[in-house]
Symmetry: C2
Subunit: 311 residues, 2 copies
């Protein structure tokens, strides 16, 4: 079924236009934020979650502004905000809002998943609208979220419903980038690994929701630390955009992610968090200048590698 899938078609058009398939992961850590930002907020609010939350928001806005030349997709990881309490989550909310204000796209990295009625609450919270009497309000307004498949299809269905109703997207965890990912995901069920089984599910959902650009609102998280698997999974899920973590700090490079793309350079979003956010700690430069350079370099490396492979 081909049809309207505005978010995905817009995303793909923009990836081509801006030659940028990169995602900047916004994983704020208090101990890694520049001292000048922290100093100002500690003076105003003391050693409180408020001081942290204000520092995070200041830092994130600085990063977003700095890298907009080479990146327009941002992925805040909500765990790093939850650890700073309600104020931290407010910083998550405001970060998502700021990305939208400046014309970016937000992937809420929430990895939620629960029984149907609970998944529905999560889906409403992050992709949909909450109804209160005659009003509809958005709790956390992401374009995409990441979701965990352990509970099966009725954990996923409420998210797919919100994708259809509100023109949103999801990335289902298929193969993650962490060292122990194989303990469950690599086990064989008959002749098929578990992550391949999940990939088959994702493909099944994706073919029902594929837009004009050939891609679906149902994507997959596929770690860059396993390049040979990327290739096989690319074949298994031809309509799904891959969200590929693990570039930079987790060990993956441009050569390792190239298999995630189709022959037109579409179909993959490559995430880098620490390698961009905290580049300044290696170079000693202003954090915005360092982040901008790191994002530009990452984008250039991937574009170069895609051109090399296309020849």
């Amino acid at each position: 079924m081909r049809g309207e899938n505005m978010l995905i078609d817009h995303l793909n058009a923009r990836i081509i236009k801006e030659k940028s398939p990169i995602v900047v992961g916004l994983d704020p850590r208090w101990d890694l934020i520049p001292e000048a930002i922290k100093h100002e907020n500690l003076k105003a609010y003391g050693e409180t979650f408020k001081a942290v939350a204000e520092s995070i928001l200041h830092f994130n806005k600085g990063i977003i502004d700095a890298v907009m030349e080479s990146a327009f997709v941002f992925k805040p990881q909500i765990a790093f905000y939850e650890q700073y309490g309600i104020e931290g989550i407010e910083a998550y909310y405001k970060t998502c809002q700021y990305v939208k204000e400046v014309g970016g796209i937000v992937i809420g990295d929430i990895k939620r998943g629960d029984i149907g009625s609970t998944s529905e609450a999560y889906a409403i919270a992050h992709l949909g609208e909450t109804t209160i009497g005659n009003r509809s309000l958005k709790a956390f307004d992401s374009d995409f979220v990441t979701i965990n498949p352990y509970l099966g299809s009725d954990c996923i269905a409420p998210f797919l419903n919100q994708c259809q109703t509100h023109d949103k997207g999801v990335f289902v965890l298929v193969k993650t980038s962490n060292p122990s990912s194989g303990e469950l995901q690599d086990l064989f069920v008959g002749n098929t690994r578990i992550y391949e089984r999940i990939a088959d599910w994702v493909h099944g959902w994706s073919i029902k929701t594929t837009g004009n650009s050939g891609y679906s609102s149902v994507g997959a998280v596929v770690g860059a630390t396993y390049p040979e698997e990327l290739k096989r999974l690319r074949e298994k899920m031809p309509n799904s955009i891959f969200l590929v973590p693990g570039y930079g700090a987790q060990g993956g490079g441009a050569k390792d992610v190239v298999e995630a793309f189709d022959s037109n350079g579409l179909g993959a979003l490559i995430n880098n968090s620490r390698g961009i956010l905290y580049a300044y700690r290696k170079t000693g430069e202003n954090y915005q200048i360092a982040a901008k350079k790191a994002a530009n370099e990452m984008k250039a490396s991937i574009v170069l590698e895609l051109e090399r492979v296309a020849k």
Copy 2:
């Protein structure tokens, strides 16, 4: 290894003393909260998240007060708070605080799980303490949380660390109670189902952390909708407390959960959410009276069934 495991030993002592292995799930839904509570807050705050959050907190406190005679463990499901935005999450926080104020135990039903560094942030957020300069602050102070095993052991380890440091506990999703749970969890890896494999992991972690009462801080979520599996899993995880959802609204009854207990009536916590919270909608009584009766009945049914089986 037997040793100090104060939370678990305290929990078990109290289950015996109060003859109560029941958990009240606090899953607030705006459309099911009594009109009188909503009316008051709509008048004060309009159709806003603030009005919802205040109503939820009022309702939850009313439920907690009403059922304390037969229940002392409460399980707020965070999804139902996230859907009401930052104000909703503040109601989650205050609900956890209130349970502690009145001497109850909190299971934060968050089902988180991510790569190591991210799981660490979640573990700090919900079980540990966040460090800001010279201060340590608690973001969301639960006694237990639920966690998802799809990413393997390095997703679990940070939670286990916080359990040890702060005397907390976890329930790992093993076999869930939803209709589609079998799609992944029931698949065979060799001769073993996936959920049995996860049960083996849980047992491995539990034997390292077992306290004087014979139970560990590492428990398991095992759905009551599958009683024959409960028995097998009880044998596989003798040191783990089972958190059993699915009682009441999801179809399970006292007969279905009895296999989750050991011969001393320990080893299981049986959750009921909707059947207690919204009992008033069936009986037409005041919501607190109806909840109190429903909790008392549930407790009595389980105690009776345990006595019947013990004979």
